[in-house]
Symmetry: C2
Subunit: 142 residues, 2 copies
């Protein structure tokens, strides 16, 4: 699924799911954790099964990505260093993916009917700090 060592600026943190008879609890991010930098905005994005959103590069935002519903494959690529990886997050791999600024990212919906991504971002949405290119620009490599 990915190389043994992650590219620089990428962290993958296993998260707890705590069973509760009336409904489970899922961890996402604590301020005391090493992968937390700053709170700018939390928002959800969904991606339909079989669809791939991307590529987008954030030049200032650090992303903390969690998939509480469905399964989503994230493709990451650093054009300058040539590093790339892919990882599927969801029920079978409940982890937080932390992505430093500078990476290009695309992500594909794998589950049905809903694939839900929470991004706890270090800055608020700012169209001026993000760059978009067509999905065909880079291969969807693991």
């Amino acid at each position: 699924m990915m190389s043994e060592t992650l590219p620089e600026g990428i962290e993958l943190t296993p998260l707890k799911r705590i069973h509760h008879p009336q409904g489970d609890i899922y961890h996402a991010l604590k301020a005391s954790e090493g992968s937390f930098s700053e709170f700018g905005e939390a928002y959800f994005t969904t991606v339909t099964q079989g669809e791939t959103k991307g590529w987008k590069q954030h030049t200032r935002m650090t992303m903390n990505l969690v998939v509480p519903v469905g399964d989503v494959t994230f493709f990451l690529r650093h054009v300058e260093t040539g590093q790339h990886m892919a990882v599927t997050l969801g029920a079978d791999n409940y982890c937080r993916l932390t992505v430093a600024p500078g990476y290009w990212m695309a992500f594909k919906g794998e589950g049905s009917p809903l694939n839900l991504v929470l991004n706890i971002a270090s800055i608020e949405h700012d169209p001026g700090e993000a760059v978009n290119v067509a999905l065909e620009t880079y291969p969807l490599e693991r």
Copy 2:
């Protein structure tokens, strides 16, 4: 669903859902918004349809509650002031519910199969700041 004026320390903020052909985007919380105080922890809690979790009182935590999947009714009660209210959040009422410390809260799953609550809390989980009493202690009043 609730009184015209909300009890002191409670805020209900309508949130944007932005249509995207490959999957919609849902706002949750920005650091610049008035109801943001501090980032301590983000976590999810689920509640099965027909089940009610509660009552719990946080003595230091401010909660920012969003329901991206399903429908959840939140019951809030301030024992000292006698103020109480209930509100259902979900697809038909996509809002953020901000709750100051001191309120007792119970919440009921209304949707199927999944009712998912995101809490962006002002402090990290600390069992010493929360008090639990049985559901029968207070009525589930609107």
